[in-house]
Amino acid sequence: MRRRRRRGRGKSGQFDDRKLIRIALAGNPNSGKTSIFNALTGQRQHIGNYPGVTVEKKSAIITVDGKLVEFIDLPGTYSLSAYSMEEIVSRDFVLNEKPDVIVDILDSTNLERHLYLLLQFQELGVPIVGALNMTDEANAKGIKIDHDQLGMILGIPFVKTVGSTGLGIDLLLDVAIKVAEGELESNKRHLNYGKRVEAAHTAIINTLEMDQVFSARYSQHWMAIKLLEKDQDAIKKISKEHQHFDLVLSVAREWRERLEKQFAEDSEVIIGEQRYAYIHGAIKETVSLSGHSTGIDFTEKIDRIVLNRFLGIPIFLGIMFVIYQLTFSLGNPLADGISIMFTRLSLLLTRILPSGPLQELLTNGVINGVGGVLTFLPIILLLFLGLSFLEDTGYMSRAAFVMDKVFHMFGLHGRSFIPFMISTGCAVPGIMSARVLTNRKDRIVTIMVSPLMMCGAKAPVIAMLVAAFFPNNATLIFWGIWLFGWITAFFIALIFRKTLFKGEQTPFVMELPPYRRPLIKNVILHMWEKSSEYIKKAGTVILAASIIVWFILSYPKAPQNTVKDFGKTDVTYSIGGRLGKSIEPVLKWAGFDWKIGVSLIAGVAAKEVIISTMGILYGIDEDVSSQQSHVDFMVKDKLKSDPNYSPLMAFALMIFIMIYIPCIATLAMVKKELGSWKWSLFQAGYTLLVAFIMAVGIFQMGSLLGFGG
């Protein structure tokens, strides 16, 4: 066997003088594209976004026999229409960047549907190599594919591969490079759409050719097809860039209408059906099914249980419970460990460095911030372990299937359950997990409401308040508030769907892929990607934000000689503290005083800080009572005995804490996931507004009804 040298390289470097071969990887979801990409590139993947959109772009550069080869992973899609961001991104990439070759990954056991995408890539006029993946599964099912014959019919070389074992990967790479370098032919013909469509197609190409600059930029064959399909993005490109756009569009419209009359069918459907007819013909000649059909297959056996009408939901909840438990019961002690390490580090620095602003910046600002970033890491690692397991086995779509009805009633998707559930532990990984939602609108709405859940940081604050003011019904009220988080999330999601994100609901049409064993390598790579991405992108923002919040809550300092007594601490003199005091008149409507105001402002840094800030404001010295539970206990006592506080106020406060501005880490995560601070600001704004209205409503109504005592 030939040995191949591979080496990772950045974009610049000593190879600049050599020609870079660019290979784009395409394929349906569930075609095993990720395995092939991983097998081809290993760990040298670079993750970014396609320009201008938040569609994830993975790429990698390797060297093969001294040649530089770049792989670009296109989003997994079923088609290349203009209805989703992923599809437009794929098309535009091929049209604008003109990769040397596209390697399309196909599931051999399901060739008909996977060739449908391949044909659409072929229409773009770029050389293609087909990877007949999962050959092993096809063999086991008795599916025989004559790949040479198939290649002859479609004009494309095909290679048989097994992504999980790496079989055929070397050959695939070889063939792809040969095609890229022009040693091997590909895409010499395109499919014949039938006499009538071809006539329309030729006529449109003739008009398109009038603008030579435009013709050189885009494949005319593709443009003509898209005009016949009434593709909105293609029409937009023509209107903007073609010299004689009005003529082209009117010719296209004329032919389209003629076709629709002849077929008594919409043009998009006519073309789609022609593609399927062509594929059907090709498959008839090249694919044979031999031997035994095995009755009920493995997938169906499992689905009979997990998709059972009555067992489906309990099984799903059980699986989520296990993942939740694993993530948080294993992750929290690790997170605590990290947190303790950083506390020690900051104590050490306090001793070494002379006291002053620098020491405080390092210990309270930087180390606290870095610690804050890293404490999320174990939870994120474990969470993505669980999620890639669900995704790679194929269970994720089943989860959506069993949960969709309930969620759909509130304008959400069945998969929204996952970010919701994770957010009851922590909203930061919860928002990351919203990637299971492939549709952007679903994802935005889910992300906007996920932080309304009671998370691990709100829970101790609520528990403390419940214990202080409702000692007799503590459990009931606590779980009532927990449920309140879910209900609010559902209703606000519904409101968003009917106002900000109204309009056509995106289709639920979704494949339920056969169950497959996940590859450990893929799962680990996935965990690694997500975690390093979190540290690099979110981590820096969280760190910067924590330093800013620390500054707001510590400066300016209290005058030197002030006795650190009841309410006369650094916090009260700080910007945050002054702000808390100045908004007291407004807070009064909800029954809150300035101490609560300051604590709530501090709570934006992290919700658990609400308790410790109250502790400081009540003059509980943290050094004496370093035990967290002790602070809890003392704050509880102080609150209980404060004559200004009533159970009614406490109730309004709990509701306020549940809803108001998510912590800074969550807001940073939202920015990272949705690509703009606009969404973080919107989230902070709407939650604050809703929280305030509800708290005031509760307090005022309650007072009127005489609960204010």
């Binding site: 079923y78 088609s79 229409s81 209805y83 056991t109 399901n110 008909e112 549907r113 449908y116 919409d266 998009e268 459907v269 789609g272 059906e273 399927y276 997938t299 689905d303 998709l307 009408r309 009555f310 489906g312 939901i313 779509s397 959506a400 299937f401 069993v402 969709d404 009805k405 759909h408 009917k498 109204k502 309009g503 056509e504 609901q505 995106t506 289709p507 639920f508 049409v509 979704m510 494949e511 339920l512 892929p513």
Partner: protein, 100 residues
């Protein structure tokens, strides 16, 4: 209240439908579990029609209703050798005849 009507208007033209419907043709959403069917027509428009087309719902295509979720929504369909899940509201767009 406009939003309540929105879903209904998505490409489903009731007048047109009744004209073409005879006794044999039913909506895919009306079929029982385990029924085999052949597609007669897709009445949807826009994205939903395109998605159905892309996943294999075309005229004369045969398929089978595999199962339904708890509240009979969504439903699982076997088509072109794949299992696909559809909401009831989406299956209403698909006219089928039952096969034996």
């Amino acid at each position: 209240m406009k939003w309540l009507l929105n879903n209904r208007n998505n490409g489903l033209d009731f007048n047109l439908k009744t004209k073409q419907t005879d006794d044999w043709v039913r909506h895919l959403s009306e079929l029982d579990t385990e029924s085999d069917f052949k597609i007669i027509k897709i009445n949807a428009r826009g994205e939903i029609r395109r998605r159905l087309l892309d996943i294999g719902f075309i005229k004369n295509q045969k398929g089978r209703v595999v199962r339904k979720a708890l509240l009979r929504d969504p439903i699982e369909i076997e088509i072109k050798g794949t299992r696909v899940s559809l909401r009831r509201s989406e299956a209403e767009f698909i006219d089928v005849v039952e096969q034996d």
